[in-house]
């Protein structure tokens, strides 16, 4: 199966690979996995005092599409509020990367990872809902 140019670009030059301090109270960590392919994805976000995501990092062990999906999502969330980031849907990733149907689950994984990171951060800050930065 051929990967799209965008997938190859993110795969060869992944953006924002790395790790942040999971104990930092401004950092939310999402860990998800896909048993079907054994992929493991860690996605972290860091918010500023206004609740806006100022940085995002990921590490993914998986196929090219999984790496590209998580790389793309770290770019997408920067500058967004938690609510805005939580609204990201996997189909946006599918369209941007032109993922074929058999790779859609990779984009789902990325969506789940960002949701898990947001949930972790909200729990850590004792918030039921994030304050929206209007």
């Amino acid at each position: 199966m051929a990967y799209s140019d965008k997938v190859i670009d993110h795969y060869e030059n992944p953006r924002n690979v790395g790790k942040m301090d999971a104990n930092d109270e401004n950092v939310g960590t999402g860990m998800v996995g896909a048993p079907a392919c054994g992929d493991v994805m860690r996605l972290q976000i860091k918010v500023d005092d206004n609740g806006v995501i100022e940085d995002a990092k990921f590490k993914t062990y998986g196929c090219g599409s999984a790496i590209a999906s998580s790389s793309l999502v770290t770019e997408m969330v920067k500058g967004k509020t938690l609510d805005e980031a939580a609204a990201i849907k996997n189909m946006e990733i599918v369209e941007e990367l032109a993922l074929p149907p058999v790779k859609i689950h990779c984009s789902v994984l990325a969506e789940d990872a960002i949701a898990a990171a947001i949930a972790d951060l909200r729990e850590k800050r004792g918030e039921a809902k994030a304050e929206s930065a209007a």
Partner: protein, 181 residues
């Protein structure tokens, strides 16, 4: 067709005349596999009419599929769970025990380092592979227990973890053959 024609709707255990269990008797599986292969080999039906020939091909395919499933411990456990009415949703459900995923992440990081570690690589790799093998063995045993108790939720969780272990084991094997080159 003769009376020995297996029913295509029967489950794999019935086809192989084995008790439903993830602990398959390998020897009995092998013996019955060879008997079924002989019995339904398409060559034997070369002179038969279309309907019987098609039937033999279908049965031969089912026999192979059944054998591959029952001979592979993970596939077999997954199949046992399906017989209890539960799917593992490997593609659609990404929620996993965080501690388990962190360990998987750690192992993959280790494996990544081994690739360019040089002289100590072999020892590190065999350590990691022993660790994986231990986990596979204990998870296999635990899964058999849960399936026995019809604890489908417990078995499902374990089988989902097992899939990650099989995957990293395959990758560790690949790293091993790279070191051998």
């Amino acid at each position: 067709m003769n009376t020995a024609t297996p029913d295509l709707r029967q489950n794999y255990f019935e086809l192989f005349e084995l008790p439903v269990s993830s602990a398959v008797d390998k020897k009995a599986l092998r013996t019955r596999y060879m008997a079924l292969q002989r019995e339904f080999h398409p060559d034997k039906y070369a002179a038969a009419d279309d309907q019987h020939r098609r039937m033999a091909v279908q049965i031969a395919a089912m026999v192979n599929e059944a054998h591959d499933t029952l001979a592979d411990p993970l596939k077999c456990a997954e199949y046992c769970l399906r017989l209890q009415g539960v799917e593992i949703d490997a593609e659609t459900d990404s929620s996993m025990d965080t501690a388990f995923l962190m360990e998987q992440m750690e192992w993959r990081e280790k494996l990544e380092d081994i690739t360019d570690a040089g002289s100590e690589a072999r020892a590190q790799l065999s350590d990691l592979r022993a660790q994986i093998a231990n986990s596979v063995e204990s998870i296999g045993g635990e899964t058999a227990g849960k399936l026995e108790q019809k604890d489908t939720a417990g078995a499902r969780e374990l089988i989902r973890k097992w899939q990650f272990l099989v995957k990293i084991d395959r990758e560790a094997q690949a790293v091993g053959s790279q070191l051998d080159d």
